[in-house]
């Protein structure tokens, strides 16, 4: 495909607007919310967007069963009260859930491993959608496969709902170091590299030339405290998703609000530890969490998708 054709295709599918919205979310916090009250707390705390869910990931882990797209009425309730972008999750490969979310004018669709996958062979072909998609990735190859399918935003696949940051850190560092390795390579090595990464050659070339992913890269999964959020920013994330970390920090909405505000400020002032001291001053709660080392491999959400 020539460069010119590429551009036409990208513009036809609103590529500029999709990636543009992702870039406007940079430096911000996207918060999981399950009702209008939580959406109001999130917006007042300074969230750049909310993720409308029926249950936060830690409850999904605890409850077991099949996790699906949130009920339409739940998403609408949150859309009605939020003036910031509203995101929602579809199951991996469940293009029908995605089409429903798009028809509801959801601002960003998260094809998410937190929900039970619907297709073991194919992720959603995201290109024809007008709504942008965010997808999780544990390494560069996975990120580029999702981008090739039309994802306009990548987030690390930390282990959602645990409050354990270790996987988000691992995947962010891995993606950064894999990008670093590519930038040192000559044109003659890229084909082999693309094969090794199992990623499209043109995207691998692009990353090698530019030294970064073709779309923004956010952090997600296990971020529970202002310091966690600041650390992910220091590691190169352009923004963070916080799931259970806010509304599972305390049953008291006033305390949840303090945590939410502190995480928002920590993402802005991530490179200033003395500011972070001030920001964390009033935070005295955090979600209890679950050590991911205690979770058997087959129970990890991040291994859903490929």
């Amino acid at each position: 495909m020539t460069e010119e054709n590429n551009l036409t295709v990208e513009n036809e599918n609103n590529w500029e607007e999709k990636v543009g919205l992702a870039k406007m979310l940079a430096g911000g916090v996207i918060m999981d919310v399950t009702n209008a009250e939580q959406a109001r707390i999130a917006e007042e705390a300074g969230a750049v967007a909310v993720m409308a869910l029926e249950r936060v990931p830690s409850d999904i882990r605890k409850d077991g069963g099949i996790a699906r797209m949130s009920p339409v009425s739940k998403i609408q309730e949150i859309q009605e009260c939020a003036s910031i972008p509203v995101m929602a999750k579809s199951r991996i490969g469940h293009f029908m859930e995605a089409e429903i979310l798009e028809a509801m004018s959801v601002d960003f669709i998260d094809e998410s491993e937190v929900l039970t996958p619907a297709d073991e062979d194919a992720h959603i072909d995201k290109t024809p959608f007008k709504a942008p998609f965010v997808c999780g990735a544990r390494n560069l190859g996975e990120a580029l496969r999702r981008i090739a399918e039309g994802a306009a935003l990548i987030r690390t696949k930390g282990e959602a709902g645990t409050g354990d940051i270790i996987h988000a850190v691992r995947h962010m560092k891995l993606i950064t170091s894999q990008i670093g390795e590519l930038t040192g390579l000559g044109e003659w090595d890229l084909a082999a590299c693309a094969e090794k990464l199992n990623a499209p050659r043109d995207l691998v070339s692009q990353v090698a030339t530019e030294g970064r992913l073709p779309v923004p890269n956010f952090a997600a999964g296990g971020i529970a405290t202002p310091a966690d959020a600041a650390m992910m920013m220091r590691l190169g994330a352009e923004a963070v998703f916080v799931g259970s970390g806010i509304f599972k920090s305390s049953p008291d909405p006033a305390k949840q609000s303090i945590v939410a505000r502190a995480i928002v400020e920590a993402v802005t002032h991530f490179d200033n530890p003395s500011e972070l001291v001030r920001i964390c001053q009033n935070v005295d709660v955090a979600m209890r969490g679950e050590d991911t080392g205690d979770i058997p491999e087959e129970k990890l959400l991040q291994s859903r998708g490929w």
Binding site: N6, L7, N14, E17, G20, M24, G46, S83, A131, R261
Partner: protein, 226 residues
């Protein structure tokens, strides 16, 4: 290299600096655009960062988030004062919302006497891009509109100068030392709107890149920037 360092510092003190509000949003893209124009930039995160600036950019992003963070550290008040004291300010999208007036959230700086309606085109599925004919430029400017606001056309008596329209609504507007865009010039490699703002600031950056790159270059650059 001590002497070289101090010589540079001396130069820096004399050179005009353009601030970019760096609380949230597309500030890295604005910094890149301004620097490509040859301007020196500074991230603005607290009131003290406003000192000695020749101009300020309020980027695209979430206006409620920026308002929230600015209010918490006294920056909101300081921005209003700096604007009233004559600092040139360029707001894109969320920045335009904050510079104007409006009854809904967020709280506005009200430095420009126009109503700016948030998310006025609808949600993200209603975002669009459009080649715009802007009064200061000879050729179209590629405008990317993301959950964009609408600036209500000011009354005839207003001192606002409408520099471009889409569907009858102003998309680029100048009022004294303030410049408002409802689209995102920072998402493209076209530097003409940033240069226009630098002119308002009285800063003429030495630009290494041609102002309007050739078509092939535009395509390549645009692809890179997205």
């Amino acid at each position: 290299m001590v002497s070289a360092v101090s010589a540079t510092d001396h130069l820096r003190n004399d050179e005009p600096v353009i601030g970019v509000l760096a609380l949230q949003g597309s500030f890295p893209l604005h910094i890149a655009s301004l620097e490509r124009c040859g301007a020196r930039t500074r991230r603005v995160r607290k009131p003290a960062d406003l000192e000695g600036l020749s101009g300020l950019v309020i980027p695209g992003g979430e206006s409620t988030t920026m308002e929230n963070l600015a209010l918490r550290c006294g920056l909101f008040e300081a921005l209003g004062k700096a604007g009233r004291d004559g600092l040139p300010i360029f707001g894109t999208c969320a920045g335009a919302i904050l510079l104007g007036k409006g009854t809904e959230r967020p709280e506005r700086l009200e430095l420009v006497d126009v109503e700016v309606h948030r998310n006025a085109y609808g949600r993200q599925v209603d975002s669009f891009s459009q080649d715009l004919f802007l009064a200061p430029f000879d050729s179209p400017f590629h405008g990317v509109f993301i959950r964009a606001p609408i600036i209500e056309a000011p009354p005839g008596s207003s001192d606002c100068e409408i520099l471009g329209k889409h569907d009858g609504n102003p998309v680029l507007l100048r009022s004294g030392q303030f410049l408002l865009a409802t689209f995102h010039p920072e998402l493209t490699r076209d530097l003409r709107v940033h240069k226009l703002f630098l002119q308002i600031c009285g800063v003429t950056g030495s630009c290494a890149e041609p102002e309007v790159p050739g078509e092939a270059a535009v395509n390549l650059l645009r692809e890179k920037s997205i």
